[in-house]
C-alpha cells in the first residue's frame, strides 16, 4: 500500500463551498483529504453524474486510499450507487442535496405539505441566473417557463449560511415566478457525514 495516499472526497460542484468550509473548520482534515468537485451544471443533467464519477475514478481513483462521494442519489435512479459499489466507495444518504441539508424528516414533511416545491440552496441562489435561467434555457425561451413550472407553487430557500443578499434574491425569484416563499436556515445538515469515517480512522501511514 502506498502510505502517502490521501482520501478522495469527490463531490458535486454545487457543494464546493460547503465542503471547503467543513474542511477548514476541521484543520485535521486538510492533510488527509483531497477534495475534487465535478461540474455543478450536472445538477440539471443528472444522467451525466454516474458516468462522470465513474470516469474520474477510473482515471484517478487508484491515487487514493479511500473514496467518499459527496452526492446524494441526485436523480441518478441508483446508477450512482452502482458506480460507488464498483469502487467500494460510499456516498451521503438521501435522494437529493435538499434532503441531506434539511434532514430527511423535515424534507419529507416539506414535500408532503406542498409537492410543487422548488428548492434552492446557497449555491443555487448565488448561481441562479447561470444554472436555472440559462441552464434551463429560460433566457432564450422564456415561454418555456410554464412547461417547466406549471405544477410548482412554492419556493423554499434551504440556506447553508446567513446571507441577507441571497435571501433578498431568493425572495425576489419566488415573487418573479409567482410562488409562495419560505426561508429556512438549515446549515449543511448531514453533509459532514462524508468526513465522519475520515476523522475516525487514521490513515494507513499514521498506523505505521
Amino acid at each position: 500500500m502506498n502510505t502517502d495516499k490521501k482520501r478522495l472526497v469527490l463531490g458535486c460542484g454545487a457543494l464546493v463551498y460547503d465542503l471547503l468550509r467543513l474542511i477548514e473548520q476541521n484543520p485535521g482534515l486538510s492533510d488527509k483529504v483531497k477534495l475534487q468537485c465535478l461540474p455543478a451544471s450536472w445538477h440539471n443533467k443528472p444522467q451525466l453524474i454516474a458516468p462522470g464519477v465513474d470516469d474520474y475514478l477510473a482515471k484517478h481513483g487508484n491515487l487514493y486510499e479511500d473514496v467518499y462521494i459527496a452526492y446524494a442519489d441526485c436523480g441518478t435512479g441508483g446508477a450512482l450507487d452502482r458506480v460507488i459499489e464498483k469502487y467500494q466507495a460510499k456516498r451521503i444518504g438521501g435522494a437529493h442535496c435538499y434532503e441531506f441539508f434539511a434532514g430527511s424528516e423535515a424534507f419529507h414533511e416539506m414535500a408532503e405539505q406542498e409537492l410543487g416545491t422548488f428548492y434552492l440552496t446557497d449555491y443555487l441562489v448565488k448561481n441562479f441566473k447561470r444554472l436555472m435561467i440559462k441552464g434551463m434555457g429560460l433566457d432564450r425561451y422564456p415561454e418555456l417557463f410554464d412547461v417547466y413550472f406549471a405544477n410548482y407553487k412554492k419556493l423554499v430557500y434551504l440556506a447553508q449560511t446567513e446571507n441577507e443578499q441571497w435571501q433578498k434574491e431568493a425572495a425576489q425569484y419566488a415573487k418573479d415566478w409567482g410562488f409562495k416563499y419560505e426561508y429556512k436556515l438549515v446549515g449543511t445538515g448531514y453533509l459532514d457525514c462524508v468526513f465522519d469515517d475520515i476523522e475516525i480512522m487514521p490513515l494507513a501511514s499514521e498506523e505505521n
Binding site: 440539471n44 443528472p46 444522467q47 442519489d73 436523480g75 441518478t76 435512479g77 441508483g78 446508477a79 435522494a95 414535500a111 409537492l115 410543487g116 434551463m136 434555457g137 429560460l138 432564450r140 425561451y141 415561454e143 418555456l144 412547461v147 417547466y148 406549471a150 405544477n151 410548482y152
Partner: protein, 234 residues
C-alpha cells in the same frame, strides 16, 4: 431568418416541403410547421402521412440528437412546441378517422408524489403521433386513478412516468396491484422517466421501459401490432 433567406413554403415540392417541415420543427419554429402542415393537407395529403412523415419524422431526428447530446432539454421542448402547432391542425382530422386507424387507447400518468410531466407530455405527443388515443391522467396519480381509468377507457397499454428517485418505486405498487387484479394479461404496462432503466422495470415487473419519447412510442406501436398479428394467426 434573414429576409434574403425567407422563402415561400408553397414553392417547395412535396419532398422538399416535408424536409423543410422537419427542419423547422428541429428549429422550434411553430408557425412554419403549422403552415407547412396546412400546405401538405391542401395538396391532398392524408393527415396520417403528414403526421408520420413530417412531424413524427422530425421529432425522431430531434430524439436522436437529444440522445447523442447535440440537443438539450430546452431545445427539445421548443421542438415539441412546434410539433404541437402541426398537431393542432391534424388532431380533428385524425379524430374523425380514429375508428379506422387508431391503435387503441393508451392511459398515461405521472405516479403519486411526483409533479413532473415534461417527459410524460412528450411521450403522450409521440404516442398520439403513432396513432394512439391518449388518455392523460396528469400528475401525482395514486394507483386508484390508474384502475379507474382502466375501467372507464379499456386501454391496451398503461404507462407510468416519474422523474424522482423517491417516486419511481411507486410504479411497483401500481404494477403489483394490476397483477393482483389479473389485469396484466389484457393490459400491457410501460414505464419511463429520467432516473429509470430496464433493470428497474424488470425489478418491478413492468415489461417495457421506454428510454425516451420516440422509443416509447415505437415500443408501444410494436407491441400493439405484434398482438394484432398474433390474434390474426390464431
Amino acid at each position: 431568418m434573414s429576409e434574403e433567406d425567407d422563402f415561400d413554403l408553397n414553392e417547395l415540392d412535396d419532398k422538399d416541403l416535408v424536409e423543410q417541415i422537419q427542419d423547422d420543427l428541429y428549429d422550434g419554429l411553430a408557425d412554419e410547421v403549422t403552415e407547412g402542415t396546412e400546405i401538405l393537407l391542401s395538396r391532398g395529403w392524408d393527415a396520417n402521412d403528414v403526421l408520420g412523415d413530417a412531424l413524427v419524422g422530425g421529432m425522431k431526428i430531434v430524439g436522436v440528437d437529444f440522445r447523442d447530446g447535440i440537443l438539450f432539454v430546452p431545445e427539445v421542448l421548443k421542438c415539441a412546441g412546434a410539433m404541437k402547432g402541426g398537431m393542432k391542425i391534424l388532431r380533428p382530422i385524425l379524430a374523425e378517422a380514429a375508428e379506422d386507424t387508431s391503435l387503441g387507447k393508451f392511459v398515461i400518468g405521472t405516479v403519486k408524489g411526483d409533479i413532473h410531466d415534461i417527459g410524460k407530455n412528450l411521450v403522450g405527443m409521440m404516442l398520439e403521433g403513432a396513432g394512439f388515443e391518449v388518455i392523460d391522467l396528469g400528475i401525482n396519480n395514486p394507483v386508484e386513478n390508474y384502475l379507474e381509468a382502466v375501467d372507464k377507457h379499456q386501454p391496451v397499454i398503461v404507462g407510468m412516468s416519474a422523474l424522482l428517485t423517491t417516486t419511481m418505486p411507486y410504479m411497483g405498487v401500481v404494477s403489483e396491484e394490476f397483477e393482483k387484479r389479473g389485469l396484466r394479461k389484457d393490459i400491457h404496462m410501460m414505464c419511463g422517466g429520467a432516473p429509470l432503466n430496464q433493470e428497474f422495470a424488470d425489478a418491478i415487473g413492468v415489461p417495457a421501459y421506454g428510454r425516451d419519447a420516440a422509443r416509447s412510442a415505437e415500443m408501444a406501436e410494436t407491441h400493439v401490432r405484434d398482438s394484432m398479428n398474433k390474434r390474426e394467426h390464431r
